[in-house]
Symmetry: C2
């Protein structure tokens, strides 16, 4: 798996409140602005996602174990093909990391897995055909 | 304060163990590799920092309140001048965020402050003259 950060997802208590702070308060422009999740571009190819902590926990675990720290935050590494998700899971476990949610079709229309590093920090590895990074680093995101 | 992510710092139990996972295990190359902190570039202009949780907590709070979630992780927004650190603190509080550590000289030779969003997620705003982002997004980092 390449060293590529694609998203930092914050699991927030209330998306609307978080949006008021980052978008209305700080004036950060959105890439995609939905009631359940708000995306802001924060570097070339990198988005900040404001997502409900319960929703993040459910997404990260498949809803099986929605309690615990999984809802707190997640880093994401987007890969170019669905097969690269499975390859990343193999790389990750070979390096000593753990699988939190096995590679599977994702709600957003691609394929993903959730992994944890030795400290329990969450990484999502995802192939998301709706997320496109232009040559200049500008990210566009559409819901499939 | 601009929507700019410069670092994601993970507060880890043991830097050497975290380094074994990310650098030896996953093969991610380092930008700066020190016993107390390891930096990996993960996007144009963006570094992942592996830093001891206790060190991060102490840095974030000035050592006054090193307990609590401050050592868990931090996002950083690097700005171009020392004055922009103070301006960012004003923007942040005007938007409803809180100050965890007031703007002050930083151990790395620049100026920084630690801020929290409404959910308590930590952001460091920093002017770091030792961190330079080239036009192609490559980050170089030196200890001053």
């Amino acid at each position: 798996v390449q060293p590529r950060l694609s998203l930092v997802t914050l699991g927030v208590r209330e998306v609307a409140a978080s949006r008021r702070f980052y978008v209305d308060g700080l004036g950060w422009p959105t890439v995609l602005d939905l009631p359940e999740v708000v995306f802001v571009q924060v570097a070339p190819g990198v988005l900040l996602a404001l997502f409900g902590a319960d929703d993040l926990a459910a997404d990260a675990t498949g809803g099986l174990d929605a309690a615990g720290p999984a809802g707190r935050a997640s880093l994401a590494c987007n890969v170019d093909t669905p097969d690269q998700v499975d390859a990343a899971v193999r790389d990750w476990t070979a390096a000593g990391g753990t699988v939190v949610k096995a590679a599977q079709p994702a709600a957003f229309g691609g394929r993903h897995a959730y992994l944890a590093d030795p400290d329990g920090f969450l990484w999502e590895v995802a192939h998301n055909p709706g997320l496109v990074v232009a040559d200049d680093g500008t990210v566009s995101l559409r819901v499939l």
